[in-house]
């Protein structure tokens, strides 16, 4: 949490001024009962109307000054809080963008999004609240007690006893109920996730006739939640009555002590009224303080979570070799030398001892079963992950020596999951190369067999793709992502099982057009279908992370048992 203070530094002035004005306002609040006491003791006792009006005027004046002070304070607090949140958001976004795939896998997307949004929002209101109330409430509580002392020592002792007692009760109830509320929250989460499951799994649930069973288990959870809510409710329902009773009993004691003091002449009637007033001010502020504390513990927790993300450092060190602009455009050689790679936290290597050469302009097929390490292998080429053993060379250079931007700029990779962004088709394709002309875009689309989709849309390249590509089918999305990779005319083109949703005819056409690309990239095709890769110059067969064979289709059918099995399994059915 502390490290986040950097982001509020810019607003140091506001952070000082806000609470200062708040304190000023509090001071005026504390004077009010004294003025009233003066009106009672002097104005009424003597019957001096002018005195009453004068002091009434002072009350109005105090109200106006108080208003100005508190509005100023609110402004500075709001400015500091919103500015802080804005700074933090940019810092966090930048930080997340720079994380490597390893860290991203570890943190998880939804966590990062929650940190970016709701956590920072909570933090913002926490900071705002803290700047406004954290100083004010204790100040009023102690100030009122001190003022009571200035009026009368003996009566003030009532305050000394009642303030700690009240504080103990309010915070005690809070301490007891807060962990219980956490339990309520988790019971609620349970009910929520059950509802969600019943929606996502509705077909399975109905197919297996599980409706009644699900309803029963929902009822149980629902009942459990309600009981827990009622239980916690009973405890927190105590707060108000208990504080009410305590403060008023204190008031009664105050009246008794006050009576004694008036009787011996060390207290006036007006001063008794002032003391009563202070007592009620204290009650109001203590309750506010309790609320502030709840809010700020939440905010601190959020802050801690945000900070923990900021503390994660990218495990990948950037190289410094930059390719000269468009130095070469045709395919480049890719070499794997005894490459092994284990994901962070995994017990065993996902791939090990991979050794091969992909010649410039050649087509390499990668095939293997589920979880055999195909994607892992190709992810090492653009250095999404670092190798654990051995090295990967592009153009004769270790990928680690490249500057990441320069490295990835040479490579067009199409990931397994076809992702498109909100925006027009053109904008999406331009991701691959912001400088591409419409002509280039169309060419890429044609090569990716996606042009027919574009012409079927009435707005052509300006057709707007919705977030996540919701308005496109799986096969359409895949073809667009391929076009996006092609538009940059990459030296290395990687298709990671990215034609799985295409029917055989389109798949075949796509492969044909890739081979006819004028700039002859070095191509990697990852697939589970032998038909997609059997014409490759070199085929890598992976089984459980090991390279169990490489060569052409004919060679592998002859020599590699795993490949033969895969091939036959797809031929015979």
């Amino acid at each position: 949490m502390k490290k986040l203070l950097v982001y509020i530094k810019e607003y140091t002035k506001e952070c000082m001024l806000g609470p200062s004005f708040k304190l000023l306002e509090a001071c005026f609040d504390l004077i009010v009962p004294l003025v009233m006491a003066a009106i009672i003791d002097n104005g009424i006792a003597i019957g001096d109307k002018r005195y009453i009006f004068k002091y009434g005027g002072i009350l109005v004046l105090l109200a106006i000054i108080g208003l100005i002070c508190s509005i100023t304070a609110q402004y500075f607090a709001a400015k500091a809080a919103t500015g802080f949140a804005a700074n933090l958001r940019v810092a966090l976004f930048k930080h997340i963008e720079a994380l490597s795939f390893t860290e991203m896998d570890e943190i998880g997307t939804s966590t990062m999004i929650t940190r970016m949004t709701s956590d920072i929002n909570q933090l913002q209101s926490g900071v705002n609240m803290a700047l406004r109330l954290f100083l004010r409430s204790p100040f009023i509580v102690f100030g009122a007690a001190i003022m009571a002392f200035t009026i009368d020592l003996k009566s003030a002792l009532v305050f000394v006893v009642v303030i700690p007692l009240l504080a103990a009760v309010i915070f005690g109830i809070m301490l007891i109920s807060m962990p219980l509320y956490k339990k309520v929250q988790s019971a609620l989460d349970n009910v929520l996730s059950m509802t969600r499951q019943n929606l996502t799994g509705v077909r399975v649930i109905r197919a297996f006739n599980k409706e009644q069973a699900e309803l029963q288990s929902f009822s149980d959870s629902n009942e459990k939640l309600t009981n827990m809510q009622l239980f916690v409710g009973k405890i927190s329902a105590l707060t108000n009555p208990v504080t009410y009773v305590m403060i008023n009993i204190a008031l009664v004691i105050l009246l008794w002590v006050g009576g004694i003091q008036v009787n011996i002449g060390s207290l006036t009637q007006g001063e008794v009224v002032a003391l009563v007033n202070y007592m009620s001010q204290i009650l109001v502020e203590l309750i506010k303080l309790a609320n502030t504390i709840v809010l700020s513990t939440k905010a601190v927790a959020c802050g801690g979570r945000v900070q923990s993300i900021l503390e994660i450092e990218s495990s990948m060190r950037n190289g410094d070799y930059k390719d000269k602009e468009k130095e070469r455009i045709s395919g480049t050689e890719v070499i794997f030398k005894h490459v092994g790679m284990a994901y962070k936290g995994a017990g065993a290597n996902s791939i090990s001892d991979i050794d091969f050469i992909a010649k410039a302009g050649s087509v390499t097929g990668v095939i293997g079963g589920t979880g055999s390490g195909k994607s892992t292998l190709v992810n090492l080429i653009p250095r999404f992950y670092d190798v654990s053993e051995g090295s990967v060379f592009i153009d004769g250079r270790d990928v680690k020596s490249y500057e990441l931007y320069s490295l990835r700029n040479k490579i067009g990779i199409v990931l397994q999951k076809a992702v498109l962004f909100r925006g027009t088709i053109r904008e999406n394709i331009l991701w691959g190369n912001p400088e591409a002309s419409d002509q280039d875009v169309i060419e890429a689309l044609k090569a990716a067999q996606a042009w027919e989709i574009v012409i079927s849309k009435d707005k052509g390249l300006d057709y707007v793709i919705e977030q996540g590509g919701r308005n496109l089918s799986g096969g359409q999305k895949q073809r667009f992502t391929i076009a996006r990779a092609l538009v940059r005319k990459p030296s290395v083109l990687i298709l990671d099982d990215s034609a799985s949703a295409l029917d055989f005819a389109t798949d075949a056409k796509l492969r044909k057009s890739l081979q006819e690309l004028s700039y002859k990239p070095t191509i990697f095709i990852v697939s589970q279908r032998t038909s997609s890769i059997q014409h490759a110059d070199n085929i890598l067969v992976l089984d459980d992370g090991e390279l169990v064979g490489q060569g052409t289709h004919e060679e592998l059918v002859k020599n590699c048992e795993v490949y033969r099995e895969i091939y036959q399994s797809q031929m015979e059915g």
Partner: protein
């Protein structure tokens, strides 16, 4: 129109609250008690002050009696308040529970047509968040409004009983705070709207960019993304500052009005006191009323927006609860027994959207034990056929018969009991692996589950999991790969061995070698059973007795593998393309 809707909502609310009438009556009773006693106390305090006039003139005897009375009243007030709170909690939480329960019950009987057309997130938020908000807002708001109004009325009465003129001063000044708060909240509403719009925009950008960061990095798009982000962020900062600042003026402003009332009461009270129309104790009592009196006004203005919000939430939940359920089973619906597995489609017409025809005049007769494969491009209606057999959707016209009985004449339960289904989209229930396998047969033994898992080749990965069959898996199944999840889903059906089988791309995420092994297990399972298989891997379906080739909702070709190849049509094209 809108008013009508609001009325309906309110009526429904009352329907839910009705079961808790006793609690409501108690709550109201104790609320009245609390308010009256709370207001009575300042009068007593004032009296007490009046007993201590000056040095040597303190009436201790009366003071002692008064203080005794006060202590009793204070204690009663505290207890009344507590009981009121507990009653309110009871009403609130029980009503939400009832609403959630009804909503969930509805969820189980809604037609898939509705569920497919609505985002799960939206429905979940209706059942959970809206129900909660409704409870918090409406019921809490209601009690707050009730005590608020009561307090105002009570205060006025008490004040009038002491002094009319000061009361008038208070009455004239207080609505100011009401007015000020209303004025500010109207202004800030717009700023909050701007803020939440900017927030929404930013969240959706973050969602997109962070959610797909691998692509962002692969295309070195970080700078562009940051630029866009910063632009929105700056706007958000501005709107957020405005919204936060203007809304935070409300408190100081109403406090200011409060202080004015206080000053007004102080001055007029003092003037009356000089003339002897008011005692000092009376003044002190007025001062504390002045402090209390404005508070409910501020609360009520908040409560009104809260109530509106709560009503809106309630309307959303009730809308869901009042949704038309699926057509119930016919009263004379039969229960299927000893199913042979003959499936007939007679002149079936169907479409999801009325004006967009999908399946037209579809006829098919599947004999007992036949294997039917359905192929065709994406979106051609393959899955629709399955939706119809399972009766997830009802046919538009025509009929589907099993063993010669229209499926609409069969109870859904017995229909689905006799059909085993594995879908491409795997769904894992929160629970152990074992729970997931026995979902269709809860009384199955561990041995049976293991046998089923072995048949579906899931056993080898399950036994490698940390707790084997007792490993807890989650719906999003992050600890299982897509292929593993599919294996689990297959195990469920292997356990049941139903007379009719439906496999919708059931092995799409499983590598072909394992697939072959599962195919063999299926082949054994399907022996003598009628089965429907949807697949885009042609290898999976070559052995089918009937291959249906679908395009745009129509069956364009029908026959076995050899026949279709000979025909040289769409299927032959599709098949040959994998060898080019």
């Amino acid at each position: 129109m809108k008013k009508q809707k609001n009325n309906d909502t309110v009526k429904t609310v009352f329907k839910y609250i009705k079961s808790y009438r006793i609690s409501i009556a108690l709550s109201l009773l104790f609320a009245v008690m609390t308010v009256v006693l709370t207001l009575y106390l300042p009068i007593l305090t004032g009296d007490a002050v009046d007993f201590m006039i000056e040095k040597g003139h303190v009436d201790f005897k009366s003071l002692a009696a008064l203080i005794g009375k006060m202590v009793i009243i204070i204690c009663i007030t505290g207890i009344a308040q507590w009981i009121m709170n507990i009653c309110n909690n009871k009403i609130t939480y029980n009503v939400v529970r009832d609403i959630r329960q009804d909503a969930f019950k509805k969820l189980e009987i809604l037609p898939l047509k509705y569920l497919d057309a609505h985002a799960p997130g939206d429905i979940v938020s209706r059942i959970i968040a809206d129900a909660d908000q409704f409870a918090d807002g409406l019921l809490m708001g209601f009690t707050q409004a009730f005590t608020g109004v009561l307090t105002i009325a009570g205060t006025l009465l008490f004040m009038l009983s002491i002094n009319i003129w000061i009361t008038i001063v208070v009455v004239i000044v207080t609505p100011l705070s009401f007015f000020v708060a209303g004025f500010i909240s109207k202004r800030t509403y717009k700023m909050f709207q701007l803020q939440s719009a900017a927030r929404g925009e930013q969240t959706s950008l973050v969602d997109e960019m962070v959610g797909n960061q691998k692509v962002v990095q692969a295309y070195s798009h970080e700078d562009e993304a940051l630029e866009k982000f910063s632009e929105i962020n700056n706007r958000l900062k501005k709107y957020s500052l405005n919204a936060t600042f203007y809304s935070s003026i409300t408190n100081p402003a109403t406090r200011f009005v409060n202080n004015l009332v206080y000053a007004g009461v102080g001055v007029t009270g003092a003037l009356f006191a000089i003339n002897g129309y008011l005692t000092v104790g009376g003044l002190s009592c007025f001062l504390s009323y002045a402090n209390q009196y404005t508070k409910p006004f501020n609360e009520i203005s908040g409560v009104i927006t809260e109530l509106q919000n709560a009503l809106a939430c309630a309307a959303r939940v009730f809308e869901f609860i009042n949704e038309e359920p699926q057509i119930p089973d016919a009263s004379d619906a039969k229960s299927l027994e000893n199913v042979r597995g003959e499936v007939e489609f007679d002149n079936v017409h169907f479409s999801y959207v009325p004006d967009k025809k999908l399946i037209t005049d579809f006829n098919l007769h599947v004999k007992q034990g036949q294997r039917v494969a359905i192929v065709g491009p994406t979106g051609c209606g393959k899955t629709t056929v399955i939706n119809l057999i399972m009766r997830f959707y009802d046919v538009g016209s025509g009929s589907i018969k099993i063993d010669g009985i229209d499926i609409r004449q069969i109870t859904r339960k017995s229909l689905r009991n006799n059909i085993g289904m594995v879908l491409q989209e795997t769904w894992i229930k929160d629970g152990t692996i074992f729970d997931n396998i026995v979902i269709g047969k809860p009384d199955a033994t561990m041995e049976e589950a293991i046998t089923a898992a072995k048949a579906s080749h899931a056993h080898s990965f399950i036994k490698r999991l940390p707790n084997g069959y007792d490993t807890v898996v989650k719906e999003d199944g992050s600890n299982l790969s897509q292929g593993q999840k599919q294996l689990l889903c297959i195990a469920r059906v292997m356990l049941l061995r139903p007379p009719v089988l439906i496999l919708d791309e059931a092995t799409s995420s499983i590598d072909t070698r394992t697939e072959i092994k599962i195919q063999n297990a299926f082949a054994k399972l399907m022996d003598g059973r009628t089965s429907f298989i949807v697949a885009h891997r042609l290898s999976t379906i070559q052995n089918a007795d009937i291959i249906l080739v679908m395009k745009d909702g129509n069956i364009i070709e029908q026959g076995n593998h050899q026949n279709l190849l000979k025909q040289g049509g769409f299927y032959a094209n599709l098949y040959n393309s994998q060898f080019t």
